[in-house]
Amino acid sequence: MKTTTKSLLFFLFFVPILMFGQTTLTGTVTEQSTSIPLPGVNVVIKNTTTGTATDFDGNYRIEVNNGDILVFSYVGYQTIEITYSGQASLNVQLNEDAAQLNEIVIIGYGTTTKKDATGSVEAITSEDFTKGNIVTPENLLSGRVAGVSVTTSGAPGSGSQIKIRGGSSINASNDPLIIIDGLPIDNNGVNGSRGVLASINPNDIDSFSVLKDASATAIYGSRASNGVIIIVTKKGKSTFSATYDAQYSFGELTDRVDVFTGNAYRQLVASQPINGTTLDESLLGTANTNWQDEIFRNTVSTQHNLSMQGSLFKVLPARFSFGVTNQEGAVLTSEFERRNLSLALNPSFFDDHLKINLNANLSFEDNRFGDSGQIGAALRYDPTQPVYDPSSPFGGFYQHIVSGNLANGTTNPVAELLQRNNTGDSNRSYGNLNFDYKFHFLPDLRAVLNIGFDETEAKIIDFTSLSSRIQNLDKVNSSRGFQKRTNKLLDGYLTYNKTFDNMRTEFTVGYSYQEFTNEGSNTGNVRDALSLPSTFADPDVVLIGFFGRANLTFLDKYLLTLTYRRDGTSRFSKDNQWGDFPAAALAWNLSDEDFLKESKTISSLKLRAGYGITGQQAFFGANDIYLNRYRGGDSNSQYQFDNIVIQSLIASEINPDLKWEETATMEFGIDYGLFDQRVSGSLNFFQKNSTDLLFTASVADGTNFSNSIIQNIGELQIQGVEFSLNADVVKKDDFTVDFNFNATFLDREIKELALGQDVRTGGISGGTGNNIQLLREGFSPNSFSVFKQLYDNSGNPIEGAFVDLNGDNVINDDDRYLKENPGADVILGFQSNINYKNLDLSFNLRANLGNYVYNNVNSSRAQYELLQDNAVLGNVPTSVLETGFQRTSDVIISDIYVEDASFLKMDNITLGYTFSNISKHLKSLRLWGGVQNVFTITNYSGLDPEVFNGIDNIIYPRSRTILAGANFKF
């Protein structure tokens, strides 16, 4: 308080007087090695509060007296002190500080440095991004960060499953919180878009911060349990530069599921392999069609990005970018196209006391969805039939016809794809406006106000040609849909920085308000009089938070961070709305101690310990389940009294007691740097215990309006070790080799389940409502629940014969046991960049070990009985020859289908050459080429071991892609 008063007095009375006796000093601050002007450098007169900061051209202006000591400081650079001795101007060069230690790391509501970070935070800047065919932003992180797994499907522009440290929940969300320039985004996408990140141009991203442990994430309280990814987009700069990137890629599927060829199929059918059933050989055709070849295609994709940075009217730093991405899908007709416009304005006012950052983005995503279900049809469709048949009434496509109509059974997959046009156009506008004000009378105090906005509107058109059917034409679908999601944010915080003798302090307090809406409509099938339009509107989700953080650094060695957040959510009733989420972390920069200070080997060593509680409220289901609600039936769900329709109102399930799921995270970490930081990395041990799991569990029948509702029961424990190693193996002027290696060991165990009962999960194809996975106390989530297969003396499986595990002489559900689980025990990542003169080479490798997959393709398709497909014939995978299985229902739950799917993948390798200083205007040109999805090494028998949730039920296949690109810098 004393200091504040003093400052005020100083400001109010003495400054105007003193001004007369002062000299105005000007100058430019540049970066020593590159001579690039440094904006935002603090220039302060030592032991006073008088100071300024450099503008965007590195220029500063300050009133000084002779003998004043000027302090130039900038995060990431060594601080310089110069005594003023009457110079007219003073140009200063700043030297980069020892390696990455002072690298700025973005954290929640603020920044810190690598050295000062007390939590498990990993910053990934553009140089570190994963390279290759990057269409959506999360792939920039793929395999790059210990503890972060990114699984992307093969569909064009598709979303990814991102998990940080294996998530934290069972039934509720396991998605990390993603924050773009301070705006937390909604993890739920809209129909018509490929995913929430699909509309974001990776080229606009400047850096990521991945917050992993509770001490780092707790400032985001209720949404932090699954970790936080903070995305910072590129900003405007005062110097002009422009880049243009072009990329072309050519994709090809390298593998197919082996099914019988036309000839082999004719032989197979003739051999009549189904016991007790005679296949009608007259149904066989004469063609040899590989249906997978017919529905898959080689793809051509392009990406173009143009960006410009510079100062508008010499005062307004700005960045503008325009990107066009066009990606063809491997499945016929599927396509992803995106256009992005992005504008960043970053002016500052009042001698940099007020900085304004505006990010405005428009994204236009146009999709055509090729029904990936047709991949299954291609495996199944009779290979002896042709694709086209000129005499066919079905628009020239061959179809099985029985008694004058389309036969029951699988239909021609090529026709299904080409005769259906399912498009989704999603327009998204998002951005934020950020005011960062450093108080004039108290520069130690900053106020930040952030207003964010995100709105996506999507239109879906699903039109199937009438020529696809010859009867019941009114059931041929033609519908249109609309969906709109909005997300509005207002948050603000105050940060107070003050250094006392040996103690640096920073205090932050703030408030956040966010509201999400979701609504939409669908026309129903406009051809069908029985299909009526419908609308939906989710209850709004409102999240309100109050937060605070204190950072105390003593002697630059001992660090303490305390965080607290109080969060309210509209998802719970008034009594349970608010949750408190505290965290604390300690760190010790051991290498600054005298006994290590002089060490040539150890250049940095920090020990960290943290503990915190974070929350979770993002469960799937009604956001208003605590309210006493009734729901009226839709147009097909009415009742009739006296044959007259009456709207039936049915009370909805209710749980007024629902509250926060909480995750307590404990972490011990070591950050190390060796040989002047040429080798660095971290080793983290963590344990997460999620309690009061938001879990759908039984309620006593008759006491609620469902038999099972979401409740707070259960406990999940995740233990893990993360290790990362970054090494500059060679660091010479014209030759550098560096690599990053990261490893994550994860162990997930269900400690407690609702009412101690097992929960079936993991729906599979083959049968209506079949499940293959189980949640059980003491086991990993989603372990496979299967029968133990019996084998004959020669080691062949005996169809339908299983071990009677409970010995009651009956094989029933009680004999299923748990075999393995889909989670990887170990996840490894390796990236390397090699630069020699103008040549650059980079590649990455990724491995998962100990992950198991249920091969649903074989389990539901590789049985002889499926040669009969309703009234027609159908193909089956050739793996049926290995088992000789007859009936799906006899074997579908067999443990024979649970396979080790450990893999090693090379996702990408690229080679580039840079031509520099080509002309006055063109500063450099880099030409590069690469391969995406280079190879996969695995013992898994299916197409691709990397599937979602451990169930391989025909994934959208991932193409191998050849890439070529050019990168122009102006």
Binding site: N275, T277, V402, N408, G409, F441, T517, E519, L530, F536, A537, V541, I544, F546, T569, S570, N623, D624, L627, Y630, R631, G632, G633, S635, N636, S637, Q638, Y639, Q640, F641, D642, N643, Q647, S648, L649, I650, D657, A697, S698, A700, D701, G702, T703, N704, F705, S706, N707, Q757, D758, R760, G767, T768, G769, V810, N812, E865, N870, R887, S889, I892
Partner: protein, 533 residues
């Protein structure tokens, strides 16, 4: 001075900022946005809601949820399969000697039709939970229509006049759910309108359930609308009588008591209420059975409509399912030609009931050409006979509006059943007259175009059981009948695939009731597992 002003302004702005921000916490109290969802406090502002909420109680028998046939308010069972009549058909008919489901990879079906069930079976969970949801919905209606609440909402006299009947119907639906629980599981969670939400209620065993249901049905008699006088789709006195008659007929099983005389007298009450047999046996199972001559026979239907009341209920399943894999005869019954590819067939023992003089009997809808009668392999859809009892065609030659979701209502209770119950109760010593019993049985034969009427010495209990199968097969009665005749468990009578033997093997006695679903038991510690499981 200017600076000072600036500071005040700044401080003022910060203050304003903080006040503005923190005053928004009321926004956490949201209300639903969807036009299908209404808060209870707003709902009853419209008096029409009372009848609509009552319709919701009834709808629980027909619908699985509010958002289409693939939507369910129950979990851990396939949504469409969780329909009341569907699971009832599975536990009462599929488990016995009349029906085979070809797709055994549909969870639970294999265990039900081969009598291998465990407490894990999702279909049993569906049965237990769906019936208890009826109880919960009825209790909710009763809570919302107490005189105090009606007073507080100043409900009009017109609606109040309807209220005794509405409330009696809700209690009737609740009693009916308890009746099925008593029959199928032998126990139930006992929840009435005073039971708190999400509590762990007491459990009633068969004796307590029997007396509760009986007393409830007697108590509401005065308030229920007279038989045949209520709107079609709503229950009347006859429905209550029907449940009573069935309880009394099976009282030996439930409470080890002889109540055949009570059964007979309630059968008489129903018969005396003006019901008549439909002109044509098959009218009861057609798309227009809500308007054709069957309306005089059907005592209580589960509504189905291809447009407004879509469900994967028993009629949709049986009509699509009994389309033959070889015959591809769906268009005859108003569904797609292939139907569901031969999902349903009949077992040999059922076929044998029609051996001999049943060629003209309209109850015999068996299609056998090109098919072996034996089903050696359940997944072989070409073996075993099929039937064509239910249909989405109308009595006037038209078809239902949709080719999957049929218009055919499921006749849960109908007069023919009462006739046969009368005859059986008589034979079991419940009084009445043999002539009347014979008349009733022969009336069914005559109606079915079967000239072979029966004489007094033909009318035995075993004959009744067989005749019940011929008349009432696939109507969700069979398991109950076989248990009453002590032919379900044990080895007295073995049918194809009973006990998982293709020729049938004996079942242990504890299979007379189903196991309490594990999930239901876990949620209510007062529930204990039935003996033997």
């Amino acid at each position: 001075m200017k600076t000072r002003f600036k500071i005040y302004k700044t401080i003022g702005l910060i203050g304003l900022f903080i006040v503005a921000l923190t005053s928004c916490t009321d926004d956490l109290n949201i209300t639903p946005n969807d036009d299908q969802t209404t808060l209870s406090e707003d709902l009853f502002k419209d008096e029409a809601a009372y009848k609509q909420v009552l319709a919701g109680v009834y709808a629980n028998l027909a619908l699985t949820g509010t958002d289409g046939a693939g939507n369910s308010n129950l979990k851990n069972i396939d949504a469409g399969t969780s329909q009341f009549g569907r699971v009832l058909l599975y536990v009462q008919t599929l488990s016995a000697d009349q029906m085979i489901w070809s797709y055994e990879n549909d969870p639970g079906t294999r265990e039900i039709q081969r009598n291998l069930w465990t407490a894990q079976n999702p279909l049993l969970l569906g049965m237990f939970s769906r019936a208890h949801l009826s109880i919960a919905l009825a209790n909710n209606f009763l809570r919302e229509t107490t005189p105090e609440k009606l007073d507080a909402r100043s409900v009009s006299t017109a609606v109040r006049n309807e209220m005794p009947a509405y409330r009696a119907e809700a209690r009737l639906m609740r009693a009916m759910a308890y009746y099925y629980m008593m029959d199928i599981f032998g126990k139930a969670n006992f929840a009435d309108e005073t039971t708190p939400i999400n509590s762990q209620p007491d459990v009633y065993e068969r004796p307590e359930l029997f007396s509760f249901i009986e007393s409830e049905l007697l108590a509401i008699d005065a308030d229920l609308v007279d038989a045949k006088q209520n709107e079609y789709g709503r229950a009347d006195k006859a429905v209550a009588y029907m449940i009573l008659a069935k309880m009394y007929l099976n009282a030996q099983v439930y409470i080890n008591a002889d109540r055949y005389a009570d059964c007979l007298s309630y059968c008489e009450k129903i018969i005396g209420s003006g019901y008549t047999l439909a002109n044509n046996y098959l009218h009861n199972f057609m798309a227009d059975n809500n308007t054709n001559s069957a309306v005089n026979e059907i005592i209580f239907p589960i509504i189905s409509d291809g447009f407004t009341t879509q469900n994967y209920g028993p009629t949709t399943v049986m009509i699509n399912g009994s389309v033959g894999s070889l015959e591809v005869n769906g268009s005859e019954v108003g569904v797609s030609a292939g139907g569901w590819g031969g999902a349903l067939r009949v077992r040999k023992q059922f076929v044998e009931l029609f051996d001999g003089s049943f060629n003209t009997d309209t109850r015999n809808t068996i299609i056998s050409e090109g098919r072996p009668v034996d089903i050696d392999d359940i997944s072989d859809k070409d073996s075993g006979y099929i039937i064509q009892k239910y249909s989405n065609a109308t009595s006037t030659g038209g078809f239902g509006v949709d080719q999957t979701f049929v218009d055919t209502d499921f006749p849960l209770f109908r007069l023919a059943d009462v006739y046969l119950m009368y005859a059986e109760a008589h034979l079991r010593g419940g009084g009445g007259s043999l002539t009347t019993a014979l008349d009733y049985v022969n009336a069914l034969r005559t109606r079915a175009n079967n000239p072979n009427t029966v004489a007094a010495n033909d009318l035995t209990l075993d004959f009744i059981l067989d005749e019940r199968a011929r008349e009432l097969h696939w109507e969700a009665h069979r398991r109950q009948d076989l248990i009453r005749y002590n032919k379900f468990t044990g080895g007295n009578y073995n049918w194809a695939w009973k006990g998982n033997g293709s020729n049938g093997i004996s079942l242990p006695a504890h299979f007379k009731v189903y196991p309490i679903p594990t999930a239901s038991m876990a949620a209510n510690p007062n529930l204990t597992q039935n003996e033997g499981y």
